[in-house]
Amino acid sequence: MKSDKVINKVDLIFRKSESDEISVIKRVLEKKPIDIINNIIDSGLRGRGGAGFPTGLKWKLAYEQNSTVKYVICNADEGEPGTFKDREILDVVPQKVLAGMAICAYCIGAKKGYIYLRGEYFFLANKLEEIIENFNQKLKTIGLDFEIQLYLGSGAYVCGEETALFESLEGKRGEPRNKPPFPTSVGFLNKPTVINNVETLVYAYIITDIGPNEFKKYGTKDSRGSKVFSISGDTPKPGIYELELGMTVEDFVKEFGDGDTKAVQIGGCSGKCVPRKDFATTIIGFEGIPTGGSMMLFNSSRSMYNVLHNFLEFFCEESCGQCTPCRVGYQQLLKGIEAVKKGERPASYLEELKKLALTMKVSSKCGLGQSAANPFISIVDNFKEEMIY
């Protein structure tokens, strides 16, 4: 590993674009939807919310649906602990998000779009509504029949799960649906729906503007482009950074660590914890650890038991509660590590709990439960003594 490599900071997302958004959309309207979609496919852009589904393919699937009613939804329910980049994007370059939605709408044939903004970001709402109103008017003048509306969440992490988000928009409890069917065929109000993360939509807009080749200059074969990272924890420079994908954790820590980094939690509570010994060999990206951008650094003063305990408490509260593995599984993982710590259960019980985490991974209804094994196994395996003593 080239440990002397400097982290490549990128400036695509927040850069003041040469062309304004409406003129980019105007240009788009002169092309065939499928050509725009193919551009996105060609760019290799994958969803920036965490799951990493190929964006172009998602658009194509919705495009192919035979329905007069379709929807574009911007997932701005950024709830993953340690993530705050969508807030910044919506604050600084909201026009690009809206433009990304409009382009998607044109491609798939949607007339209505929603931004589902988490309730915690209410302070953005008024300003955003004004911008949206303005933008909707402009779309009318250039002849694109598409209208965006802002919706607010009400404090439920699971609503970031796409089908839970639909339920919430529909005025229901945010309980994820069974998949299949997938949103591109049966989504919001049971209509074909493209739901993309805020950042993904901005990249889709940028790729449409500057072309896939510019985007592909960054990143690796499996992880094209750059990504906005939310950096927090034990770091001298917490904040939001757009970085090229494909770096090693070691490179990352060199840049952002405080010199005493013992672990990096990649992808928030539902992501994996990388211990110091694996820094050099772990790549941040789809070939290694994919992430929605949350990077939490922990130095040697931190108890990893506390970290895991905090994560598990979070999941116990934020699980929607409908499926057994997730609802009860997280309670058992939490009570389980407490029992081991207190000596009420033997250290070997951690092995039972790891098996349970694997069950949760394969049998839960949605990503919330399926993520259990990520933090649990990576923290328990790498910091076992901290769990026991």
């Binding site: 509660g321 499926c323 057994t324 389980g336 394969v362 049998s363």
Partner: protein
């Protein structure tokens, strides 16, 4: 043409129609997959996850109840991964669940208990979470007990209340570790918009929702030498009780049931069918009075007239459609007519102080418990019906008494109010009250039998949610000549969700009828909330068949030919809708809050 899809389950090939689930495909191969949140009567939730299976090339296990098959998939239902996950899931459910099975009403008939046994999860792998939960037990309702400590959060009750009954008295509240099945603001069951129909009880896989039992009170009365204990049995009980003694659904056990009741020590074993016949006399006369008022006298009459036998429906109407209450027949239900007569007519006839009579009824219904407790139901001067037991409770009493049910001989009901006709027994099935009423009303109007072969009014029968029939009236007697040539329009709905659909159409003026029969439970009383568990469409169909067999086998098929009813009028009531009838057999209801 529906496309067939070929797939493999455990390496065995199977073809099923496109759109089928893995569960359905497995069933075709006679592979029974464990399920908890799945129920045939309800939409699919896929939330308990015990039916998970391995689908080749899928990184996740998939819930068989909801996962659609596709061409060429390979499914494994017993792989180690599946078995481990399933065992974990059952253990997880048990860690939240009060598993004092011996104290549970559903002991030996609990879906979770069965799975725990099958998967050998008797040891407690995980930490007992019950001490951390503030589980509550709600005893407020005379019909239904809700015990959160037994709940596995499968949401079958919630879907039942919404999809079958359109009530939504139960909901899923909170989320995560605090998620629970709740009423509005966790108010007591007695105070909420609950119809007491008990469909939630019928669809609960465990003992989280059960009927309130009165078995001990009944034993006490039986064993009290000062008490004269009379029991009546509803029509639908006899076609379902057998299921609790190993009989196939649809086997009629009327005679054995009567014998068993006598062996239990009831002083008199009588038949609700008798008062069903009586109801028909009163109700068909009431309908004709209303028609007369509307058509002949051109006055305002509340039409359509709705039946009033189903207490779940009554409470539903009180909450949801108070404006319809004047449309309800003022006839009490057969149970309550019976109760009012037991402590008046019957008491006088056998010369017993009504104070000493304990009136018990065996019902397929949990709402009947509430009905018996209504303040309106004291016209005899006493509580007309003292205790209501469900079919399930009766079976339990028979078991407690050590009676070998299948070996019993068959006996007949006792005298005075024990005789009945086929028209009485079909009260137990959707469409039955309408059919019985038509058999009698038509004859009152025309003096002739209703013109259907063997008196079977086939068009009113069936399990369609909403049905309608038009009967043309031909050859009226002079008194009823204003009805000559008229088409009597009758509608029937069962299951309150269907009832709601029908009522909305009536209220919007899209349709109009003279007579509407509503039964709260799917299939009518035979699918009632007090009937044996489990229930599904097949079982209901078997019970339907049995009820109609019972009808056809009766020597008398028309309520007005019931000799005990005729005697009752001669000796006591004098005439339908007369003074005494009004005093004892009729009632009106009052609106309740909608939300």
């Amino acid at each position: 043409m529906i496309k067939e899809v070929k797939l493999k389950i455990n390496n065995i090939e199977v073809c099923v129609p496109e759109g089928s689930t893995i569960l359905q495909a497995a069933k075709k191969l006679n592979i029974e997959l464990p399920t908890l949140c799945y129920h045939n009567d309800l939409s699919v939730a896929g939330n308990c996850r015990v039916c998970i299976v391995e689908v080749k090339n899928s990184r996740l296990l998939q819930p068989a109840c909801v996962f659609p098959v596709s061409e060429g998939i390979e499914v494994f239902t017993n792989s180690n991964l599946v078995r481990q996950a399933r065992k974990h899931i059952i253990e997880l459910l048990l860690s939240e669940h009060n598993a004092d099975c011996t104290e549970c009403y559903r002991n030996n008939n609990c879906e979770l208990q069965r799975l725990a046994y099958e998967y050998g999860v008797s040891q407690h792998l995980f930490i007992d979470l019950i001490p951390l939960k503030n589980y509550e037990k709600d005893y407020s309702s005379p019909s239904i007990i809700k015990d959160d400590s037994r709940c596995i959060r499968c949401q079958r009750c919630v879907r039942t209340c919404e999809e079958l009954q359109a009530v939504s008295a139960l909901t899923v509240a909170y989320r995560g570790e605090h998620m629970k099945i709740s009423t509005f603001f966790e108010n007591p069951m007695f105070e909420i918009v609950c119809t007491n129909c008990g469909q939630c009880v019928l669809h609960c896989p465990t003992g989280a929702l059960i009927e309130r039992t009165y078995i001990d009170e009944v034993w006490e009365a039986i064993n009290d030498p000062d008490k004269h204990v009379v029991v009546q049995t509803a029509p639908a009980v006899r076609v379902a009780l057998g299921e609790l003694f190993g009989y196939e659904p649809g086997e009629r056990v009327t005679g054995k049931m009567v014998t068993a009741l006598k062996l239990l020590g009831f002083d008199s074993v009588l038949d609700t069918n008798f008062s069903a016949d009586l109801t028909i006399i009163e109700e068909s006369n009431e309908l004709l009075e209303r028609l007369k008022k509307a058509i002949k006298e051109k006055q305002k009459a509340y039409l359509p007239m709705f039946t009033s036998c189903s207490p779940g429906w009554i409470k539903f109407a009180e909450h949801m459609y108070p404006e319809l209450l004047p449309h309800l027949s003022t006839c009490k239900s057969p149970q309550q007519m019976f109760g009012a007569l037991v402590k008046t007519y019957y008491a006088k006839k056998i010369g017993i102080d009504p104070k000493k009579i304990v009136s018990v009824s065996i019902m397929p219904c949990t709402a009947k418990k509430f009905e018996a407790n209504r303040p309106e139901m004291k016209s005899s001067g006493y509580r007309d019906v003292d205790y209501v037991l469900t079919t399930r409770e009766l079976a339990l009493m028979i078991k407690q008494a050590g009676i070998n049910f299948s070996k019993l001989s068959e006996t007949n009901y006792d005298n005075i109010m024990g005789k009945s006709t086929g028209a009485g027994v079909i009260f137990g099935v959707t469409g039955g009250v309408a059919e019985a009423a038509l058999r009698t009303a038509y004859e009152i109007i025309t003096g002739k039998e209703i013109p259907f072969p063997k008196l079977n009014i086939i068009p009113v029968r069936g399990l369609e949610g909403v049905r309608e029939v038009t009967i043309k009236i031909d050859g009226t007697l002079p008194e009823w000549d204003f009805l000559e040539g008229m088409e009597l329009r009758v509608a029937i709905a069962h299951g309150l969700a269907n009832a709601k659909r029908l009522i909305e159409k009536i209220l919007s003026g899209q349709v109009n009828y003279h007579f509407v029969e509503i039964m709260a439970c799917p299939g009518g009383c035979l699918g009632g909330g007090g009937q044996p568990i489990p229930v599904n469409t097949e079982i209901r169909k078997s019970r339907v068949k049995a009820i109609y067999e019972e009808d056809e086998n009766m020597p008398l098929r028309k309520s007005h030919e019931n000799p005990d009813v005729i005697a009752l009028y001669n000796e006591f009531l004098h005439k339908p809708l007369g003074h005494k009838s009004h005093e004892l057999l009729h009632v009106t209801y009052t609106p309740r809050k909608r939300y």
